[in-house]
């Protein structure tokens, strides 16, 4: 067998298709850049966004010239805000918050959704009906409002509360997809084969069925990260997300409310950061969907 005609697994083929998709690669590049910002903010900016130091709160006491400066003045490429904090610094540190909430919120939803969805699909019967009704119920809430309700229960929401709220709102989407996949694989020959070998249900589910659902789950997770980043920004914008001085992008937008018209950079750059990040995940997610399910592509 030569290298040119050796067999490829469906996953390898999917990744090959993904690599050829330029928009998806652009999305991947954006995601990588945001990840670098999120994990190594100190590579790009000298100090912490909400602390003291050359770019922090302390600056406001140093004279009025440092407040609300337009983009481009030395040391402040994107200007400063109403408290004299550097907008670029806060955006870089905000990437960490956005990405963390997007990723962990999705992971929580994945864990709940995978467990409930696969039980519903694999077992069927009464437990399936029960879980499916529960899924329907959670779909009946407008997601943002349900999150608002959950956050209302907590006096001061921290990141863990937001992770949990995103998980509660996001799991039904995962569960529905996993259930459908599991049902379609449940009767397939490799499952019958595994059963004939005397493997337990749990082992069949984890070892054989779930790995075959991976494609759609990866796609829905990538798109869910984008949705979660938007949701976190929305909650912060409503003033019920992370409390200040966390440099959340949504919070930066609402805090500069009185200055949007006269000092537009405070209203433009945080929003632009949200859009670019979410766009990156959406492009990557769309690309993954096209790659894993070529039939979906027009």
């Amino acid at each position: 067998m030569t290298a040119t005609n050796r067999g490829r697994s469906p996953t390898q083929m999917a990744f090959k298709r993904l690599r050829r998709n330029r928009l998806a690669m652009l999305g991947a590049l954006v995601v990588m850049m945001v990840t670098v910002l999120a994990f190594f903010p100190s590579w790009l900016v000298p100090s912490h966004a909400d602390g003291a130091g050359p770019y922090g709160f302390a600056e406001q006491f140093r004279g009025a010239h440092e407040y609300q400066q337009p983009p481009g003045i030395p040391g402040h490429p994107l200007g400063t805000d109403e408290l004299g904090r550097d907008v670029w610094t806060r955006i870089v540190y905000g990437a960490g918050i956005s990405l963390r909430i997007g990723l962990v919120g999705t992971l929580v939803a994945l864990c709940i959704g995978l467990v409930l969805g696969s039980i519903a699909g694999f077992r069927g019967g009464r437990i399936d009906t029960l879980i499916s009704r529960l899924t329907d119920t959670f779909f009946a809430f407008p997601s943002l409002l349900l999150m608002i309700g959950i956050l209302a229960v907590f006096e001061k929401p921290n990141e863990i509360v937001i992770f949990a709220a995103l998980g509660v709102v996001g799991w039904p989407g995962v569960a529905r997809i996993v259930r459908g996949q599991v049902i379609s694989l449940r009767g397939s020959e490799f499952v019958l084969g595994a059963r004939a070998l005397g493997q337990s249900d749990t082992r069949i589910l984890i070892g054989h069925v779930l790995p075959n659902c991976l494609g759609p789950v990866v796609v829905v997770s990538t798109l869910m990260i984008a949705g979660n980043i938007l949701a976190e920004a929305g909650l912060s914008f409503l003033g019920i997300g992370l409390p200040p001085p966390a440099p959340s992008w949504g919070r930066m937008l609402v805090d500069s409310k009185e200055y949007w018209v006269d000092m537009p950079w405070m209203g433009i750059f945080p929003g632009l950061s949200i859009m670019i990040t979410v766009l990156g995940f959406n492009l990557l997610g769309d690309g993954l969907r096209d790659a894993f399910d070529p039939k979906m592509k027009d």
């Binding site: 009704r133 529960l134 329907d136 119920t137 779909f139 009946a140 809430f141 407008p142 997601s143 943002l144 409002l145 349900l146 608002i148 309700g149 959950i150 956050l151 209302a152 229960v153 006096e155 984008a226 938007l230 920004a233 929305g234 914008f237 409503l238 003033g239 019920i240 949504g250 937008l253 609402v254 949007w260 018209v261 537009p264 209203g267 433009i268 929003g271 632009l272 949200i274 859009m275 979410v278 766009l279 959406n282 492009l283 769309d286 027009d298």
Partner: protein, 315 residues
């Protein structure tokens, strides 16, 4: 169709009951003593307790839930605001919901016209610059937070068109239109992005079918082929996404209202959270969820109406 409708209505009952249960539990979990919130920090403990006793806040939760359901289903009574003295939640929400629903319908209209228009155009002119541009704009629209588009409109569009930046004025139809146009455009344009993407792929799917070739070979004009034969058959996915977008619009309205300072339902709920007015918080969530369930039901029914196969599916 009648039996399908009945079945769907029956299926909605457990969902609605579970929704009320979740909302009730949220209400019970929100911290704060209702009597204390209502009577103020300086009220003596005895009168706070008497207030709670009189309103049944001291009863066991299942009893409270029973009463809650009874009030809800006999006369849709959502209780009394803990903060706004003497005002019922129904009164407050009725006023606010009027603003929200107007905003949602107005933006739905914009979303439909722009979304379906762009979707059809992209499909018919597929793989031309029109297609690429509108799809690029569409994916940017999907990724853009509605409140940010609102901010951009406040900064750049309002002064150019001479429109009010924020606030709501319903003295007459014209001023109301003027105060709603920017919020509705922000919200509608973003929803149109999703509709356009789906409309495009649904239309592309249909346009390659044999009956379209037949219609063309009969000598029908391109407009008739696209609008009558293709669009009608692409309707099912489009109706679904439109129905789902209506739910998204209601949620987006919450955010849009905050940007444009509109006195809608979203703003009431957010204010209620800051003041710990639990009846108002949960009343708002429940009302929105009921609307959401209703819209989803209509979407499902219209599914069946467009495609008779759905009705016969007994799975």
């Amino acid at each position: 169709m009648v039996s399908y409708t009945l079945r769907r209505l029956l299926e909605a009952i457990p969902v609605i009951l579970l929704v009320t249960l979740i909302v009730f539990l949220l209400n019970a979990a929100i911290p704060g003593d209702p009597g204390r919130t209502r009577l103020g920090q300086r009220a003596d403990p005895a009168s706070v307790d008497a207030y709670n006793e009189a309103r049944g806040y001291n009863d066991p939760l299942p009893v409270q839930y029973g009463r809650y359901l009874w009030r809800l289903f006999t006369d849709f009574d959502l209780g009394e605001s803990d903060v706004k003295a003497g005002k019922s939640v129904n009164e407050i929400l009725e006023e606010a919901f009027g603003v929200t629903i107007r905003l949602a319908i107005f933006s739905m209209f914009i979303a439909l016209v722009v979304g379906i228009g762009a979707g059809i155009l992209s499909a018919v002119r597929s793989r031309t610059w029109i297609d690429y541009c509108s799809m690029l704009v569409a994916i940017m629209g999907v990724s853009m937070p509605v409140f940010w588009l609102g901010i951009l409109m406040i900064i750049y569009v309002a002064p150019v068109l001479g429109l009010p930046r924020t606030g709501f004025d319903d003295t007459d139809a014209y001023t109301m239109f003027r105060s709603l146009i920017l919020p509705a455009a922000a919200l509608g344009l973003l929803s149109s992005a999703t509709i356009a993407r789906l409309c495009r792929s649904a239309m592309l799917d249909v346009l390659t079918q044999d009956y379209i070739r037949t219609a063309r070979s009969k000598g029908l004009g391109e407009a008739v082929v696209v609008l009558k034969h293709a669009l009608k058959n692409a309707a099912i996915p489009i109706v679904t996404v439109v129905g789902n977008s209506f739910g998204y619009l209601l949620v987006g309205a919450v955010l849009t209202e905050t940007v444009f300072a509109l006195p809608g339902l979203g703003r009431e709920v957010v204010e209620a959270i800051k003041q710990r007015d639990r009846e108002l918080i949960t009343g708002g969530i429940l009302l929105m969820s009921f609307v959401f369930v209703g819209v989803n039901l209509l979407v499902d029914l219209s599914y069946a109406w467009f495609d008779p196969r759905v009705r016969d599916d007994r799975n």
